[in-house]
Amino acid sequence: MGFLMIEGAVKILEQYGLLGALLIVIFLLIQDAERIPKIEAYILKPTFRLFRWFPRRFIASKVASVSTGFITTHLSKFVESANNLKVRIKWVVSATDPILDQDGTVIIRLREEDDQTRNVLVATQAVLPYVACPSIRKNIDKSIEEAIDLTLLRKLADDIGNHAFPVFDKHFLQREDIDKKMVVDLFAKLVVLDKKGVFVSIFLHELDVLGAKMRADGKEEDLSEAVVSLLEFLLRIASRKVGEENDLLHCNGFFNVGIILLAKSSRMNADGLGPYLRRVQINILEGCKTIYLISYPLSFGLMKQMHEHVSDSLQLSIGKIRRLKALGKTEEGSKESHIEIARIDVSGSYKEREHDKLESLGLEAGTLVDAIVIDVAKEQIVVDLNGIISIVPKKHLAWNYHLDCGDTVEEGKTYQFIVDDIDLDRGKLFLSRKFPYSDPWKISTLPEENDTVTVSVIGAVGHDLIGRYNDTIDIIIPDECIPWPAINYSELNDLFGESLEVIITNIDSDERKVIASVPLTDDVNWEEAFKNLTPGKLFRATVEDITVNGVKVRLDNGLIGYIPKEAMIKAGFEYVDYQSNLVAGQVLDVVISKVNRKNQRITLNLQRNLRINSA
């Protein structure tokens, strides 16, 4: 949009010249009259620089526009006291100016210099006590106040441009008084917060709110410790490494803040919005009055989704999503990036409202309800039951195995659920789609132990196969019950949809598990060959299959054995990277480690490992 406006402006200038320039200025002024000082400064700058014409007009316009612009851009969105605030310079030129009769009047000196940076910084410094968290200033130590102002001035210098930093450094940072070490320390920490985008958006906002509350309550207690504590909390969050666990709650009575970091991760792909929505509710239950959602570039889409759901489903008051400059981390170090922040303000009655809402539903375990599915992820879904949010894990969506929640439900549709449990104190509702009338263990005939049955392989959990019997009962075939002659690990996925004959080995009614094993193969007379198998016996073996877990080999007596990856790695040299260096058909010298007769499993070791051990 801005680009189109500039393009339009250029066309007008080309066509109408000076008249066009005048039209553009008038248009800009009509759009926003507060642009007057800025436009005035632009117009007067050349004449001031060259001839020192209209110095007061130029300096006043320049200082006012830059200072106001800084307050509007950075402070007004987060600090109520800075909202809609404009700075104006009132010149004192005469000894009879009535302002000189007003006790307490402060008059700043503005210099007639080409570079107005210093004037801008001085003027802004003078107004900060009225703009940035004015109410809390009398409740905090002067060193904290000074550090906050210095950080804001540094931010202003950053806004002005690189040339402003030497001015800021020379006139504001160089200090000889060693008693001000605390200011220096605090300043350094606040700058870190600012670089991460949370100095104004969270820290100053919280101070502003608390200050207003203290003033409203007429309290004058010293909040320095609480403020420093909030600073340290935010610093820990800002400085956290990727994947590091941090306590994201800070509730101490003065500041009751929760932070939720939205990240695009494998967990998010699996769990969706559920954990984040739940985290919002938990934060409220644990006393947070304000919850900040923070997201990084890769998860900006997630922020948008969260914003909608928090507003619509949780019915909480959530502010606009603000995108702020921040330093992000890359492998090379830090680089300028952005974060998005949205603030949830929790009303005092929210907890009671949610408790009452849940209670008013009059639910009890076993009740059937209809709920809308509002989010579907791989491992869980989120449902909305008349405004109550519930997270339903995958295993509660159906009696039988399914790979993905999306296999059983669809987002946006209404489904029937059964209430498993209600925790009124924590505002939690537990739902399920495992209805008693569809329980396969009740409506179907279970096989019996030692039965040989045919199952359809429907999936795997790790290396354990899942087979479905009679289209109703799921049977687990554990990895250790799959004889290696029967199945290669690399062929597991090829089995899906295929029929497999299995022997039922165990039925656990409490755990609701049916365990089976794949029968032994008969390509070799196992019983005969088994007699000659003892741990320590040496063989030559031919490589048949190489997997991430080890190597499948055929012994020179025709039996299949297995060398675990640990044994391969222990052998060293080329065996460490056996997946790259071994080939099918290669011959290895092996020794038997153990034998599982029931499942035809022969575990092997490399003979060279025995030589290493004895060396």
Binding site: V63, V87, W91, G104, T105, A126, P129, E146
Partner: protein, 83 residues
């Protein structure tokens, strides 16, 4: 509706006129004035802020700490008005 904060200011050329009102110009010329906060020597070049205190005018140097002290919010400094 916007809040306007009016910041009284004086330009370099007008300093003498203002200080004359409080009979301070000659004292600055003579090198007798010191900063009301840090007590450093005040000259025409390093006057940073002035504050009216009764019938007197307190001078502060241009060190930012002294400016900070001079502009402390517990004194009535600026006019804040609604437009």
């Amino acid at each position: 509706m916007s809040n306007k904060i009016e910041l009284p200011a004086v330009k370099d050329d007008d300093l003498r006129v203002i200080l004359d009102r409080f009979a301070l110009s000659s004292r600055v010329d003579a090198g007798e004035m010191t900063c009301s906060n840090c007590n450093c020597h005040i000259g025409w070049e390093n006057i940073g802020v002035m504050r009216v205190a009764g019938h007197q005018l307190l001078l502060f140097c241009d060190n930012h700490e002294c400016i900070e002290v001079a502009t402390m919010k517990d004194v009535r400094s600026f006019g804040v008005s609604d437009d």
